[in-house]
Subunit: 309 residues, 4 copies
């Protein structure tokens, strides 16, 4: 498989893997729940999936990890499938300028979350899933499994820990409910949200799963239309402006590809009309993004010249 200016994909990924290996150990793994805190920091995986169906990978690309906030892409996709653009009456589309779990902006804006990738927005999306799907947790599993063509599961320990320690998220959902923004029982909404965060996948699965965002909404392997071409472009736009917590401007500036990151250390990136990519390494920087993952994406963008700009 070739990428960029006729580069061999495997060679590019191998080169990046070799270059970032020495920096493994930098940053800190997420510590707020035990299951994340005990993940060994010295791991790195990278995988890509072309819109033609080809794959390539390097490093720990088949090691499963907790995808955490990357799963917000799955919740958003399901919600758009169910209610289309009506979703945007409930969730904004602007970068937030505040940390991902801040309540400040939410108070100023009467409980309307800025975008679907901050926690408040994703919880609002989860509320939509509770309304739209009989079994929203199963719907998430079904979508994830269908997209990566392998069975995907929740990590029950992570889901339980999220719930036991998720007071900030409980604050967010109650706060939005106080503004009339949440339609269902707060515990039911949190249950979906905490399970969504607890999805477990590996780099290869992730790269494959989000191929539809690089391919105008059509899943490369199956040809299935997951979202409309316009929806796919708009999800990419949201990823670029809001996908990496408070570092979205920095990612756009340095990498130039739509990305969505999670505190498990995974980051999905999209090169529209070309490929989808996943990097993973558990050490996080101060903004909650994977240190080695971010570096790998910078190297990838520089070496392949792939950038939306």
């Amino acid at each position: 498989m070739t990428i960029g200016n006729a580069l061999d994909a495997t060679a590019v990924l191998d080169g990046i893997n070799a270059e970032v290996r020495p920096m493994l150990g930098e940053g800190r793994v997420a510590r707020y729940i035990p299951a994340l805190a005990r993940v060994p920091i010295d791991q790195f995986g990278i995988a890509l999936s072309g819109i033609g169906g080809d794959d390539a990978a390097a490093g720990d690309a088949t090691t499963p990890f907790s995808i955490q906030s990357v799963s917000k892409l799955l919740g958003l996709t399901l919600a758009l499938q169910a209610v289309g653009s009506a979703l945007w009456e409930r969730v904004g589309r602007e970068p937030s300028g505040d940390p991902f779990n801040s309540l400040i902006q939410l108070e100023h804006e009467q409980g309307l979350p800025r975008n679907p990738f901050i926690n408040a927005g994703a919880i609002c999306v989860a509320d939509q899933l509770v309304t739209s799907y009989g079994d929203p947790k199963q719907a998430l599993l079904d979508l994830a499994s269908r997209l990566c063509r392998e069975p995907v599961a929740f990590d029950a320990e992570v889901a339980r820990s999220e719930r036991e320690t998720g007071f900030r998220n409980a604050a967010l959902v109650n706060f939005m409910k106080s503004f009339g923004r949440i339609r269902n029982d707060v515990d039911a909404v949190l249950d979906v949200y905490f399970h969504q965060c607890a999805l477990v996948m590996n780099c290869r699965q992730m790269a494959r799963a989000f191929g539809f965002l690089a391919n105008e909404g059509v899943q490369p392997g199956s040809g299935e239309a997951i979202v409309t071409p316009r929806q796919a472009r708009r999800i990419n736009a949201l990823m670029l402006t809001c996908g990496t917590y408070d570092a979205a401007g920095e990612f756009a500036f340095l990498i130039g590809l739509p990305c969505k990151s999670g505190v498990g250390g995974g980051i999905v990136a999209i090169a529209p009309r070309q490929l989808s990519l996943c990097v993973w390494s558990p050490g996080l920087d101060a903004t909650g993004n994977s240190v080695a993952g971010r570096r790998a994406l910078e190297l990838f963008a520089t070496r392949t010249g792939l950038s939306v700009f």
Copy 2:
């Protein structure tokens, strides 16, 4: 009984009652729960209790009402009885500058509430009651009953409605818990808090109950030391700077007495070393304070010359 410059207390209260009657109907009764929304707006009561034990009253002074946030004085008193000044490691003593239920300042200050009279602070005090008392709800009833020498009860419907609609307060307690500021189960804390808000008393009982704040901590009728003289002065100071939501400056400026108000329309005021006072009228202004109650306190301060300044 005489007050101020040898004025007859009953005559003063009768005069105030006559003067505010025409304005009953101004403002709006609290609407967030049915039991408050259906209280007839055209009611007004006023009562005072001298530190010598004399009483006076006028208007609807024996009509029971939901004392709501005035009850934060009772919770604070119980917490001080249990842990003394150690309480101030958990709750600040500064005016907030933000609405009573704002989460903004709480986020900037890492979950430490500004003072015990904003909701966050009172919830933190309730958490202390759960820690310090075997049956904190009974402890509240016992204190209130002992102070006014009549049995006091919770309004079960109000307590239930508070819980069913109290998403903002649920957000506050979860938010503080996310900062490690709450030691007990959030539902147990909210149960105490919501019941405390649902205490039912009348003006006569209220005036009598808070006599200890006018009398250096000693309850006028019984001679019982409720708090130390220093604690009594400090509670008065907190009432003056923080007792009337976002209108504390205005109350200090226009009335000049320590006050604590509630959205049930009750306001307790203290003239140190002289008397305690309660006014009640359910119509509220935009700051959540009783319109007629506030006017009555202004008239009282002007006519008696009682002001701490």
Copy 3:
């Protein structure tokens, strides 16, 4: 002269002076302008002035110092003399909850300052002085001199330094002007404000100067009505709720007297219907209040029992 329960005033002040001397050196002198930065930290003065005209003092009570924000009391008095309660259409009366020079609340509240003791409010008062007085700087000197019955002057170096480094205050006045809150040229307003901050007085002069606030608006020595009784009470109320930067709640709680402090290390306190008091020591705590001054006021309140609560 006797104070509190027949205590000898001089003995009380001597005792306080002796007790706080060992703590001189704590805190930090203000460093933002050279003239303040070079004031020796190990100084302490205290003086009081009874409403009967008696005086007492101890320590460095005749050493001149830069009164800084205590001068906001003089500007406010002049503005009230000129326009009375119309002033309150331009300046609020609520504690701010934010640092004294914050622009945040000002933006949320459309350029209307919270109270006349934060910088924004005092600049707005200075704008009123420019409108109401032909020579507002001379009016300030005249008032200060008349009140303390000795000639008072500006420190020209301090005034110049304030202007050269006063970018935050320049930001405040321009910001309020952008909301249409300032009527005069911004430089003219700042010139008055910076000179007002640069007034030089000593503890004895200060205690005497603010006697009218303890005496229902009438200057004890001369019998001159400076403000109305109601205005005097209201200034005291503002001092208690807003007079000591972000520590107003703490001062009310611990000291219980209306106070106004400045970063020169001076603090004026009022015991209504009894006496006015000034303490001074240049070492400041994190809230910008004099460390030894604050301690002296706590000792004074405890020993004399003088507290408005």
Copy 4:
């Protein structure tokens, strides 16, 4: 000239011009200075410039207008030419989440502006121009003229009005100076900033001027390297995430091209590796962006399929 899938550029622009004409009159022209307030609202121009050097235009494409904040691109380009990436030590690269002229975020972040396209950031860039260029206003004129190959001038009346009414900007520069972020005299910095805002150009000139951003930093007509390829991509990234005030997310979502707008009603858009585009219509929406201009860009994106996503 053909664009997108072999569409005739002139036909596309004519079609858009015809479609938006009926909506002219919607929105409001900027009113804060007379020279902008009297611009007739019923005007619309559109022009594009391919990287091969071809041009196309429709509507009022040669009518000069005040380019206002679009000029922030020119200031940024000059600053990058002078100091390269050292500029980013003084200005951030994140979306702000607050209105373009807010001081709130600036206070929370110690005077460091979020990005070069909010006013604070552009003023900081202007300070860099004062440091780096002997005659920064002439440098702006020279760059603008060279880029569009026609003489460009300031509108002296607009520059004067900006200064006379620019209290918010004066607040911003003083505020940043108070944090030590501004190195030069505040008036000198504002003079550059206000003149920059007062540049006058037309749609054809604008489309041509920013061709280098679509062409990896090389100006299409002259072949001159204006910035490096990497800098060009990064400017585009900043435009996409921060270029249209508080509607950047919305523009990315709906249009999908890097844009920079101004309150004169102009918007520049870049289709990387293809063309640069300028639309202009003076009626603004609530976010300060041209109503018809935004609609024209949506139509352009939909019809040509040009989108970075």
